[in-house]
Symmetry: D4
Subunit: 219 residues, 8 copies
Amino acid sequence: DFAKIDLERHQRTGYPEVIYGQGKSIEQIVQIMRDLKQAGQTILVTRVSKHQATGILKQFPNATYHATGRCLTDVSQTPPLTSSTIAILTAGTTDIPVAEEAAVTAELYGNRVDRIYDVGVAGLQRLLANIEVVRKAKVVIVIAGMEGALVSVVGGLVNKPVIAVPTSVGYGTSFKGVTALLTMLNSCAAGVTVVNIDNGFGAAYSASMINHLGGKNGD
Amino acid sequence: DFAKIDLERHQRTGYPEVIYGQGKSIEQIVQIMRDLKQAGQTILVTRVSKHQATGILKQFPNATYHATGRCLTDVSQTPPLTSSTIAILTAGTTDIPVAEEAAVTAELYGNRVDRIYDVGVAGLQRLLANIEVVRKAKVVIVIAGMEGALVSVVGGLVNKPVIAVPTSVGYGTSFKGVTALLTMLNSCAAGVTVVNIDNGFGAAYSASMINHLGGKNGD
Amino acid sequence: DFAKIDLERHQRTGYPEVIYGQGKSIEQIVQIMRDLKQAGQTILVTRVSKHQATGILKQFPNATYHATGRCLTDVSQTPPLTSSTIAILTAGTTDIPVAEEAAVTAELYGNRVDRIYDVGVAGLQRLLANIEVVRKAKVVIVIAGMEGALVSVVGGLVNKPVIAVPTSVGYGTSFKGVTALLTMLNSCAAGVTVVNIDNGFGAAYSASMINHLGGKNGD
Amino acid sequence: DFAKIDLERHQRTGYPEVIYGQGKSIEQIVQIMRDLKQAGQTILVTRVSKHQATGILKQFPNATYHATGRCLTDVSQTPPLTSSTIAILTAGTTDIPVAEEAAVTAELYGNRVDRIYDVGVAGLQRLLANIEVVRKAKVVIVIAGMEGALVSVVGGLVNKPVIAVPTSVGYGTSFKGVTALLTMLNSCAAGVTVVNIDNGFGAAYSASMINHLGGKNGD
Amino acid sequence: DFAKIDLERHQRTGYPEVIYGQGKSIEQIVQIMRDLKQAGQTILVTRVSKHQATGILKQFPNATYHATGRCLTDVSQTPPLTSSTIAILTAGTTDIPVAEEAAVTAELYGNRVDRIYDVGVAGLQRLLANIEVVRKAKVVIVIAGMEGALVSVVGGLVNKPVIAVPTSVGYGTSFKGVTALLTMLNSCAAGVTVVNIDNGFGAAYSASMINHLGGKNGD
Amino acid sequence: DFAKIDLERHQRTGYPEVIYGQGKSIEQIVQIMRDLKQAGQTILVTRVSKHQATGILKQFPNATYHATGRCLTDVSQTPPLTSSTIAILTAGTTDIPVAEEAAVTAELYGNRVDRIYDVGVAGLQRLLANIEVVRKAKVVIVIAGMEGALVSVVGGLVNKPVIAVPTSVGYGTSFKGVTALLTMLNSCAAGVTVVNIDNGFGAAYSASMINHLGGKNGD
Amino acid sequence: DFAKIDLERHQRTGYPEVIYGQGKSIEQIVQIMRDLKQAGQTILVTRVSKHQATGILKQFPNATYHATGRCLTDVSQTPPLTSSTIAILTAGTTDIPVAEEAAVTAELYGNRVDRIYDVGVAGLQRLLANIEVVRKAKVVIVIAGMEGALVSVVGGLVNKPVIAVPTSVGYGTSFKGVTALLTMLNSCAAGVTVVNIDNGFGAAYSASMINHLGGKNGD
Amino acid sequence: DFAKIDLERHQRTGYPEVIYGQGKSIEQIVQIMRDLKQAGQTILVTRVSKHQATGILKQFPNATYHATGRCLTDVSQTPPLTSSTIAILTAGTTDIPVAEEAAVTAELYGNRVDRIYDVGVAGLQRLLANIEVVRKAKVVIVIAGMEGALVSVVGGLVNKPVIAVPTSVGYGTSFKGVTALLTMLNSCAAGVTVVNIDNGFGAAYSASMINHLGGKNGD
Ligand SMILES: Nc1ncnc2c1ncn2[C@@H]1O[C@H](COP(=O)(O)O)[C@@H](O)[C@H]1O
Ligand SMILES: Nc1ncnc2c1ncn2[C@@H]1O[C@H](COP(=O)(O)O)[C@@H](O)[C@H]1O
Ligand SMILES: Nc1ncnc2c1ncn2[C@@H]1O[C@H](COP(=O)(O)O)[C@@H](O)[C@H]1O
Ligand SMILES: Nc1ncnc2c1ncn2[C@@H]1O[C@H](COP(=O)(O)O)[C@@H](O)[C@H]1O
Ligand SMILES: [Mg+2]
Ligand SMILES: [Mg+2]
Ligand SMILES: [Mg+2]
Ligand SMILES: [Mg+2]
Ligand SMILES: [Mg+2]
Ligand SMILES: [Mg+2]
Ligand SMILES: [Mg+2]
Ligand SMILES: [Mg+2]
């Protein structure tokens, strides 16, 4: 009896319990998925390796493995789609796995998502060329590794809440994402809040809550 | 000509430039306030010592110094009040200065605020006795030093975005707020985002953006 | 002559020397086990990999390998069982290996153990549903990774000594258990003491000493 | 209404709420003391400066300020004294303030205390000359700064739970107690648990819980 | 005979020994200045407090104290002025003391300097409005505290070497400049090199070497 | 559409976008190389493993893999060679891979390079025997791991800008290059600027900018 | 020409250049060994893996690989043996590889060595039983991981210089030897100096210098 | 009875207990001095402020306060002077207080001392001009802050044990001596051992032990 699944969470917070896949055996994940499924809840497993996914899919052939975002979903009931959007930006190409974890999460919860990838500040014109899409979003997720400067530039250009996700991309003094995290916590642009390194899921979860505020479908 | 005031910020982001008081001379602050005033903008100066405040108030007698929250305001035009609220919680008594920085900021930007102070998890019944006020807020700010565990408990009980503010309250391995920050970044409750240590202002700024989403007055 | 086994430890401290398996060759472990066995002492080897265990069991076929808790025991003489209990709690499912190291150690030393796993604070009702079992224990071990907030909540609800074990479960700024450790050291609930990251053995050792105080069988 | 005093804590945990003095104004402390007094509870304020103490004593002339341990007590009802003892050891002379915080706390809660100060391992014979007093204690508190090695030596010589308190005594790489803390967490002697740097109060609180286990007066 | 002044340094490196004022007594500084003066060398003392300056100026009435940049100069022979320039940028107003240390150093060594202060990325238009002055410099010094993102934006817009100076401006996780330093070391824009926190002098020294390369007066 | 290649960078900064190979799939690198090639730009991919290189060379048989420096080049048009030189020094033999990343980068951009390897300060005569070659360079790159002391000695002997590259060579408290980095940032010799750990590319990029200043071919 | 071997080192410091094996290819090591051999110098290669050793021994069949201490020697001329001794102590069994690196180094340089292993402070009687051998040594090397407390106890019992070597043995907050290092640097016993984590070689090198002081053969 | 003075230390280790003055009251120091005096032992108090010294000298008018080295001595019996010497080097002028703590300690214990101050590597010729004095010493103490590179250069030039003392001189990333400490622990020159930051006393204590080895007066 290794797990006490929090089946009331959906009722308490509006979202079902999410399974953190890392460090769990395939058997443990499958067992928890069974219990959630039986309770009629939508399933999201994060940090799922290719190996774990293969094992799980044998038991849940209707589930979907999102390889880039390393997560696995099994939808019980498709939620209505918001008319407002969440914009998801990355600074570089190697930040995309974290962005996809965020995107899959956000879409699972019924959010319209705009992906704007590889617009880091070393080539500012790339961001400026896409700024209107960013500006019309209801909430913006900015994902960056290395020095994470993209967050401050975006924060200074939009009038919407910005959720920053540091990634472990980089080497040497990037310290596996700590540098990007510190940059984001100290952003000179107000309106920025931050989540743990590589936590695309957490950023999307908060963004979804925000995107659903204020009316039906988040409008 | 030491400062290039960002007078267009109000138009770009919906909020005027805010003055960071720490490390600035009274003369520098007064000069920047003059420029903002002339542009008709509401003024907020954060991290203002009693000494700085006295000097500034001589030049701006209509400004207000909020001693507990160490900030100073000069309102050009009172914004309409939101009908939805921001709940501001603290774990202990010594976290209140940071909470007041947040409360003053939020109220300045037209938000209705509910203060729920000294409800740390060592005496859980204090939080549970106030949980309904927290639950009806549109966004929740949780402020805590020491080990910062209050954030995870609140995050598990509400279905609204939670913004966590670590404070420098504590000693020894509290490391001037770093421990509380790490706790908050690793919260097992989803829906939590975090700002810099003691950054009550930043939390309120993001909360205000969220509270104003979705209709007139944030409804 | 690589080891000077501390055969008098049992007499000095009430407990025999325990073998720390990590970094030792199978030959070294087997040799030390032989010496302990010959002295008639109960054997506990901690941090034993599956590979090491297989090698050891060939020489000590009557020993038991506890796979989840990664430790190996060979009991010389079963101690009397305490009537009082040690409660062992975990915040999540992935903390269970550390909990089992603690449980095996505690049971080896004759303690009655109650396992209460996966009761982290994100779903507080799970802890509250089990609080009576926790309250009737003589000493409580709380095991948690990520942000470790469970310790403070438990510490505020019981009137018994709480021993906290941070685990290396988590990612990014969990810093392999350092964040949970810091949380626990700064707990706002008094009555909490802490051991090294993942040190289930050490927690159970102290808990056993406490559980045996005050009368026969720890009553 | 800055504080929500936890008057039920005494009933829940056996000990009343303790006031953490650092960072609180004299007025705040006095106000909380009034509420505790009115509820008939024994008062302990920790981390009280000489300046704060003077202000408080004007309002509570029957309270006692323990200058070396920087804490203040006002006893409502003297508890029965345990027959078993808590031994409190320090490595050096400069660790004594932390030891006195522990001793005052332990005595306030009715524990018999043995003080054995300045027995650091550089002069091992000092510890050995006092080891019998240590051995007959029911629980041992070891307090040390610098490299904190005393804990491991004591841990190897006694068969009782050891609670270790690192102190901020030292310079350079003592890092204000972090080095002693790390030493204690990694003690090669089992049976050691650790509290925050300079947290004499917390060590005594846990020790008191243990000393009271197992029969009337902790016998 | 406390100091061995390196009088040959001018000949070896093109620049005389510079006196680091912090931690030296007025007498020590004056004595070293005498020796340099006697050798006919231009004098620069950095990190000079107002108190030290007053004492030194009594002995060297022709010296100049640059209060904002906290340094003191005594020119033996004015060098020819470069036609090319060094651009010195700051992100905020509170970074100006470090910028002035750089500017005074650069001007002392005969460099033309352009000051462009308070152009942080939260208000990007301020930088863009000044970008032509930056672009025509031969080398650019970028000075920023907090998250230091200005460096990456500038690095992506110019085709000249950029020397980045982190400052200790900020609070909480700015860690007295460490965060800005890490940002700068990990800049996604190539062509950026970094000096120690608050080291305006060192940045200007390198910039001067670069500005003097390639022809008379650095042209 | 995973990448937004910055084709205008060459025009803006004088250098084309460089591909950071680490963490990218062979397909991603090949795709970006195609776009750069089509735009007629010279290609540099850094941090390319042997495995990645083999895959890329199948698609770009005319490209060159520099195994020691772990980078890959495909030259569109050979730039004119500078008459001035960049000197590249290493302290030890194991620093050579970083040095070769620098050398390949510098040569790709048309710089004459002098390699002076294995001249660490433990055998000072090796540096002194080569000091004239170092002194006639226009800019000097010093590469060292462990304690990185070579930088200060070189900085005191030359009158040219020194760019320091810490390497991750060492063990224990070398902390994968952090110690060498700190040494270099605190060099008592002025005229030293620093790049990220193991960032031979970045050092060469800045050095190339400096070497090209001041006239045709950097003269 | 990747290496500039320091053949004069023997003459300058009394000891030949030692090869640091980690990170070097077999070819590089063999080449340097050839040059040293040709110069008639005794060869020591440290941090040699089994794989490297096999490759090297093919070229140098008369060399000896010391597997436990992971080093390789090729003696040109056996030095006279000192009559005084170096005592080498370890706290545990897993510290022995570092101790053997020290022992091989010391013996190579002609020192008489006494090995006293597994005498950590958790069982103090093991040290006391061997203290006379320790006391008659001319210099003592103490090697310990985890909390490293053995150093302070030894330092307080002997009147000879103690060289402390922290090892990376341990887990969690042992931080791969950093905790033991900090313990040793802060030892309350005077007369202790420290080397890098796992640096058995360096400790033996210094100890050999000391053991050879003061007369023929170190007497 | 706050202190248990270790009067047997002189007999056990050859040196009497030394009083660590920091954090002790004048009364405490005077009391310990009385006990030592009565036992006929030579007294050394380290880290004594001017204020403490004034108070102590009133009770011990024959004691000497060494203001630069912040220590106080009271000699019971002058030891014979060694014929061999300890060389004490500093990199800069601001390192002298630590050097004087070392020099006073060494001279108190009867060692001949050579002071060679302000010979940092930025001006290498200063060291080379004094190298013969360094070479004829029996043991060398090198004291440096900032980047501490002097140690490696000296270590490569002499054939005697080198004891390195990092100092807290510097700013920014010098981290109050941690950078110099790390440099010294990772010195590429063998034969270097290290003590705590600013621990001139400890370095001299070890050096004295070494200087006294091998015959009468350390010859
Ligand atoms: N998992 C563990 N964590 C911490 N200490 C342990 C553990 N297992 C054994 N020990 C201790 O490690 C010591 C044995 O170390 P060794 O001599 O290396 O075998 C014993 O004194 C045990 O008390
Ligand atoms: N010296 C101390 N160290 C750690 N915790 C303390 C200390 N003194 C009091 N406390 C705890 O701090 C809490 C009170 O915090 P507050 O509400 O800020 O007064 C109580 O729950 C006490 O258990
Ligand atoms: N080895 C390297 N170190 C640091 N930055 C690099 C390196 N190689 C390429 N870059 C930079 O990384 C950026 C490309 O990042 P990406 O979009 O992920 O390919 C380019 O702007 C380069 O200037
Ligand atoms: N400056 C110093 N640095 C390090 N240790 C010292 C220093 N001065 C004295 N000590 C040591 O500190 C111990 C005295 O500590 P205490 O009992 O607090 O006086 C003695 O054993 C000395 O060897
Ligand atoms: Mg890109
Ligand atoms: Mg409270
Ligand atoms: Mg769970
Ligand atoms: Mg003492
Ligand atoms: Mg500004
Ligand atoms: Mg070499
Ligand atoms: Mg052992
Ligand atoms: Mg000097």
